[in-house]
Subunit: 275 residues, 2 copies
Amino acid sequence: MIREGSHSDAPIGIFDSGLGGLTVMREIMRVLPEENLIYFGDTARVPYGSKSRDTIIHYVEQILHFMEEKEVKAIVVACGTASAYALESVRHKVSVPILGVVRPGVRAAAAATGNGRIGVIGTEASVNSGLYESLLHGIDPELFVKSRACPLFVPLVEEGLWRDEITTMVAKRYLTEIKGTGVDTLIMGCTHYPLLSDTIREVMGPQVTLVNIGVETARVLSGILAVQGLTKRTIDAPPVYRFYSSDAPEKLCRFGESALRMEIPEAVRISIEDY
Amino acid sequence: MIREGSHSDAPIGIFDSGLGGLTVMREIMRVLPEENLIYFGDTARVPYGSKSRDTIIHYVEQILHFMEEKEVKAIVVACGTASAYALESVRHKVSVPILGVVRPGVRAAAAATGNGRIGVIGTEASVNSGLYESLLHGIDPELFVKSRACPLFVPLVEEGLWRDEITTMVAKRYLTEIKGTGVDTLIMGCTHYPLLSDTIREVMGPQVTLVNIGVETARVLSGILAVQGLTKRTIDAPPVYRFYSSDAPEKLCRFGESALRMEIPEAVRISIEDY
């Protein structure tokens, strides 16, 4: 679908069901500050986390067609749900490197745990996929894994309640059981969750390592580009960041300015259903 | 689009962005117990409340094509957001009666208020549309109207937290300012909200009349059918209820059993993007 031999100066495509993937973009900007980046948020159909596997795969295929048109050199599925449900089904359809946020997060958690007890939080769809457990047990069948869906976290982030007593109360409801199992590592399996990390840390306690899947994904991406000779060569010009969404681009600009801590002068609306 | 001369035994089509419209269906079942009903929930693209006008109109047009195929005799837009944003734009495209939930709710509130002070709660899109204020002021320019978007109410309902301390805390946050303005009537401008009416009543106090837009819409629908000679004539057979959704029909069955207090043995998934 996407043609081979992409030039190393081509952009990297990053997408999410909505705006949470901007936390992954932020980490990629830190690790690979010279790369050109394209972000797409499927804000007309957000959230994916409560939808079915077939629907999510269909949506991701349309986004890959869009990324093909943009001639990206690599694709990051910056959405925990799409990574868990769609990545393996679509991987063979693209000829550029494509990576999700689940495997990098899983590897980091397996490396971080001291007591072999890992917690996983994510959307309903991500947790129901069972992918985190199966990948963690693929690394070490002895690992204890406790998962929990946290459906209200995404709307709380989108409502801007990043630090709020309501968010703390919801976090206690979701996390108390996981905390009680004695995990020493918690995978934040949704790209919105790093924006709640202060609250999550407060509830889980300072002894628990929080795995930010965006940070891990940016590191893995950097390695893949280096190994495949795709790292950007022209570094005299500043990087170009372009933003697209399927609805309300002004919201992306507003949310993105908080999440990326930079001004986003423009985002372009596209009809993703037509791809 | 939809052909004229629909038979009085044809079904009534009811749709919503998701499952909240089932509260409207429940009221229609009470007021018109003999009518055949078709329900469609656009669960693949829910929620509409944070999306733009253009996107919502596009989605509603696709749903009207689906309703056309089902040869309904009347259409109820059982979604506050779609009623506020799309109804006037699509009304001329259908030749059967079509009604939304906003106007019936507005008329009931204007009739109910004793002190001329009315509160309106709804999704971000509904409240931003300004339609409630403009319709209320069309009835009486002297009315005081205070509106507030409550974006977390829909996810709280869908998470099943209909009566919960978290929901109470969120409701206090949203409603305290409106309550302070001394309104004696509150329009629950989203079809999910009747499921939170116990909590909303607790926060607003017993002296405030809560307007359930579904109840008012069912009454208006009954009148329209009678006036236009569309009331069902064959009443010897029990009514047929059919359910469709654009994603996860099993969720509709599960949620619907709570919302309608009846068993829903089957819901059919359709590809609404193809309409």
